[in-house]
Assembly symmetry: C2
Homo-oligomer: 179 residues x 2
């Protein structure tokens, strides 16, 4: 199977957290050209912070896409040139105030949506975190920190109380890592 | 924690597989209003088809978002008013030609991205499938069907050879279902 050939990018629209690009590509079989819309996005990161007494540090926040309050782990955009592990540390500290002198452990990476997004989402485990700082929200963020046992987190996943796909991916990777 | 109040939708851009909407919302604490971009998308579905001799029916296809060839399970958009289980049957037959007289079993549902997408992705298991039809691709689809033992699929996930987040979610739900 062959990849398509990129012919040109004809238009670009700024959607704040990514750019929509109209990309013309050529089918390697038929040589016909068609236009596809791709969201050109920074990479994402998330992290499962766990305290020394095995509590998972999670956050509740209002989300504008689903117009719902979700239960998640810390995460966000990887800055340009930033190491994903450093981004996971930064996001965890900003959103929860929890920190550890350990380095985060890489769990895995996913493609959020190969059909229309060009980015990666990296997942990490951060052990022995403790509350060290006050969370630093931007003006449109309001975040509540909640701690759960890991077993309870998996129960919540089975009950559908945690349903953010990137968060589910992180806990799937953790399950494979811990097995 | 409170949800924000939706004030208005001021602009909409058609991006083919979803619409980008500029939504003005009011912060329930500060009462300040801000504008957020939400992708208004149909729901998605995917399905893990398994033959009576325990082979998982997967597909390889070129994906325009990542500009890569991916290994996935069948899936796609749920049509307006369509039952997600019926959509999973339709997508599996169209993409692979595999069919079963059993009904698909619901595994779980995720929110692909609560931050900017308003839709759900439903995952199903479809047992005892067999090759019954010729796959029916649209003009921009080229799909190769490949069969793997379930253990090999989980090995491929650990090696990063399967990395589509929605596909990972389906196999995570399957792991929880089979445990």
């Amino acid at each position: 199977m062959e990849k398509w050939k990129t012919v040109s990018i004809s238009k670009e629209i700024d959607l704040k957290i990514f750019k929509a690009q109209w990309i013309k590509r050529e089918n390697p079989q038929s040589l016909l050209q068609s236009e596809f819309i791709v969201l050109n996005s920074p990479n994402w990161v998330n992290v499962i912070p766990i305290t020394s007494d095995d509590k998972v540090v999670m956050i509740k926040q209002y989300r504008h896409g689903t117009d719902e309050i979700t239960l998640e782990v810390p995460g966000g955009l990887v800055d340009d040139g930033e190491d994903p592990a450093d981004a996971s540390v930064r996001e965890c500290v900003e959103e929860t105030g929890y920190f550890s002198s350990e380095r985060p452990i890489y769990l895995g990476v996913n493609r959020p949506n190969p059909a229309f997004l060009n980015n990666y989402c990296f997942s990490f485990l951060w052990r022995d975190v403790e509350k060290r700082f006050n969370p630093k929200f931007d003006s449109n963020e309001e975040i509540e920190v909640v701690l759960f046992d890991l077993d309870e987190v998996y129960n919540k996943i089975e009950r559908g109380e945690i349903n953010h796909s990137m968060v589910l991916n992180a806990f799937f990777f953790l399950k494979l890592f811990l097995k």
